[in-house]
């Protein structure tokens, strides 16, 4: 067999992690992006910048700070502990949280841009058609922001899959719990097991390629049917 049981465990774990993180990120990014896209507040600039912050630190270093922050001495760690949560580091939940922090900007930005591009027109039309703000959001804003959501999902998913520094740090490399493919490939490379590294990388790349190519093709087909041919 090409892949060891450990590899296969890592593959499953990665898919689970990336899907969950992408889903959660889309859910929490939506209100953030909406607020950022619509607000006139001076806070917009700073908050936009804060969202991008996790990008600036090297992943392992970010992971180190998350570890300090979420650990028993850390502010958030103590707080969560008092609420009766089990500690996040070295757990799947911890991985999820850490990946979300790190991939947040990649999900917020495309959605925010898509929201900004919608303009007032469709929203006003919907409002005069008795659509409540929530109804407008679900039936007008989200469909119109679809390309943004697809970008967000792709970037968020891919980044979570490939992410590694933070995961390594927060996850603690526990088989079937926190050892994702990226870590597994890294281990293979470090252990000079280049053949295994190659085949895992290839698998990952092919899989991701197929998923993404499919996703984009669907998007393209839909768009074609709605729009006429291009100029230029």
């Amino acid at each position: 067999m090409l892949f060891s049981p450990e590899d296969i465990g890592a593959i499953w774990l990665t898919l689970k992690l990336a899907s969950l993180v992408t889903l959660l990120l889309i859910l929490i990014s939506t209100p953030i992006a909406w607020w950022l896209a619509r607000t006139q507040s001076w806070l917009k600039g700073p908050i936009n910048a804060i969202v991008a912050m996790p990008l600036v630190l090297p992943p392992t270093v970010l992971g180190f700070y998350l570890l300090l922050f979420l650990g028993p001495q850390g502010a958030l760690g103590q707080f969560l502990n008092q609420l009766g949560f089990s500690p996040l580091p070295f757990s799947f939940a911890g991985l999820v949280v850490a990946s979300m922090v790190y991939s947040l900007p990649f999900v917020v930005q495309p959605i925010q841009n898509a929201f900004s591009a919608i303009g007032e027109g469709p929203l006003e039309a919907a409002a005069t058609l008795r659509a409540s703000p929530w109804d407008r959001f679900i039936h007008v804003v989200i469909p119109l922001a679809k390309p943004g959501y697809i970008s967000a999902a792709v970037l968020g998913f891919a980044h979570t899959v490939g992410e590694f520094g933070v995961v390594l740090m927060i996850g603690g490399n526990i088989p079937d719990e926190t050892r994702v493919i990226s870590v597994q490939i890294y281990d293979h490379v470090e252990a000079l097991e280049y053949d295994q590294a190659h085949s895992l990388s290839l698998l990952m790349i092919s899989f991701a390629f197929l998923v993404l190519a499919f996703l984009y093709s669907v998007q393209r087909r839909q768009k074609n049917s709605a729009m006429s041919g291009g100029l230029l």
Binding site: G71, Q73, F90, M169, G172, Y186, D187, V189, E190, L192
Partner: protein
Amino acid sequence: PSRSFAASLHLAVASNFISPIKQLAQDFEQETGQSLTLSFGSSGKLFAQIQNSAPYDIFLSADVAKPQALVQSNNALPNSLVIYAKGHLVFWSVNPISSTSLKDAVLNAKRIAIANPKLAPYGKAAEESLTSLSVWNDAKKKMVQGENIGQTYQFVYSQNADAGFVALSQVLAGKTKGHVIDIPSDAYQQINQAAVILSQSQNIELAQTFMAFLMRPDIQAKIVQFGYAAEPH
């Protein structure tokens, strides 16, 4: 791109030797007036780089296998291989340890950090120690693995792990001294760290000078003071 560093000696150093080599490099520069350039990374990464013509003169690995492999593939000078340091494993915790017995301490801890045995010699040594105490299987369930000994240290330092197997050199270098249980050196195979001169070096003479410097008894003694094992057992 300028390759101005050709004049000075370029060392590729395994991350776990960062603190000592920074000191030793200063000593060497003072002594000889020659400057050293230091690049750090995990041994595996440095190995891959060297195989792809990285411009290093000397490779200070965290193990012996990689320098040997480089010798084998003619990337390193065969007779330049030396063991420049021997790791000293300890069981470390930030908070007081409930028992002085390693076995009890291991059994009492909720989470134990070790380095990945597959990648890091210190990890392998930790595994051997635990096996020799026949608590490997108990420990395995509450074990978190760092990719390298540096990460393992951080797990313990941040108190996300109650205790862990780290290098004595780390405990000595860090500000947080914590509490240590020494592990008898017969519980694990020696952690030998080997250095080689790389074949592509343009500066072999200076490289040899540095290797000689590194193996000088006074320097070796200094290395022991950094937390490495004194003599072969």
